[in-house]
Amino acid sequence: MTLFIVIFLLTMLVIIALAIVQTTNLFAAAMLAGIFSLTSAMIFFLLDAPDVALTEAAVGAGISTVLFLGALALTAEHERAATAGRLAALAVVVTIAAGLFYTSFDMPRLGDPAAPAHLHVAPWYIEKTPEYIHVPNVVTAVLASFRGYDTLGETFVVFTAGIGVLFLLGQAPVGQPKISPAMTFAGKAGLRHYQIPRVVGRLLIPFILLFALYVQFHGDYGPGGGFQAGVIVAASIVLYALLEGEQQARRILSSGMLKVLAAAGPLVYGFTGVACLLLGGNFLDYSVLSSDPVHGQHLGILVIEAGVGITVTGVLISIFHSFAARGSK
């Protein structure tokens, strides 16, 4: 049954992707991209990857739609130029697709227990996680502890991307006509005149933040963790900015504070590693953080997940503000 649902959803995915490429209305494309993300998240869930589905849910349907709309408000809504060199592009695409189809016949089929990916390191992680780290969620254990180096790198990538966006959009544009704040995305008033969404939205924000904390600290036991929680916190602040205006949201969580948050995350993460070094272990080897190695692992995972969450929150909200406030200074 699961296989058939997956096949059904995969077919839907192809149809949506074709529609996205075909339409010249960029707003419609952004909406369809949201549907694409919903569908693919459902496939991730069905294929035993609930952590990924949670991330894709928060990122794809929420933040990325908001960013696309913010960018569309600053650029143009319709594609103007016709596709150039369509035949050549089609020829290239069809050739590569044929090659990929040909190689697919050598791949293990979906769910094959004897596939090479399941035979080498994966069983080791599944077997040793309860012994070394003792958290139920193997994904969190691998992400935060066994492969902590990689996640440190990813956190720095997120931080760097945030810095890049601030470099590009942080300063007021030179020689551009100023737009009144009422006419920028979320600008001065946001949706203040829409009373019903405003009341309901304001009611929901505390619960969203509470849920984000649950996702953050329950990440050892179920799907969740710093990345997902950070995105959900960012989404709640974006919701506030949409309802009350971007300027009001800035008053609550100032740009300076956001920069501090974005920088604090990688620092917390990095210094956890240094603390491990000073206590006589290897970099990011949390076992030395406490007298009991398993307890030390728990502590280390908690701290670095918090660091990841802080970075993602700070960076995503900064990015949203950069797009929303562009041109209105």
Binding site: I7, L10, L13, V14, A17, I20, V21, A29, A30, S40, F44, L47, D48, A49, V52, T55, E56, V59, I63, S64, F68, G70, A71, T75, A76, E79, R80, A81, T83, A84, A89, V93, I96, A97, F101, S104, R109, L110, G111, D112, P113, A117, Y125, I126, P136, N137, V138, V139, T151, E154, A161, G164, V165, L168, L169, P223, F227, V312, I319, F323
Partner: protein
């Protein structure tokens, strides 16, 4: 039945190529970015479809898991971080497009090229 098990790779190939087509053939820069994110999703899909084991369950231990096969956690780990990095890079790309629009007044590749020629 045997062939249906390969369906995910075919969808991967098709999605990858749809995204690639948008990147190389569409002159609109935002459309190119959407194409790029489809391309990215195709790669996510390939990794995730490697993960599950038949009759297995997600790699999160719980009382309901006892005795069931556990699916591979590694693709999840890789793709989880890749999604968040993906949104960061998407934001960077959109920021660059906004700056291009401000500098040239256009987001279509051919128009920008003409402006460069002048």
């Amino acid at each position: 039945m045997e062939l249906l098990g390969l369906y995910n790779y075919w969808v991967f190939a098709i999605l990858l190529m749809i995204g690639f087509y948008a990147v190389i053939a569409k002159p609109n820069l935002i459309k190119k970015l959407i194409g790029l994110s489809i391309f990215q999703s195709a790669v996510f899909l390939l990794y995730i479809t490697i993960g599950p084991i038949e009759n297995g369950t997600a790699p999160i231990f719980h009382e309901s898991v006892a005795g069931r096969a556990i699916s591979n956690p590694l693709p999840s780990v890789l793709i989880l971080t890749a999604i968040v990095v993906g949104i960061s890079t998407l934001a960077l790309g959109l920021a660059i497009i906004v700056r291009i629009k401000e500098a040239d007044g256009a987001v279509e590749e051919n128009e920008i090229r003409e402006l460069d020629r002048q």
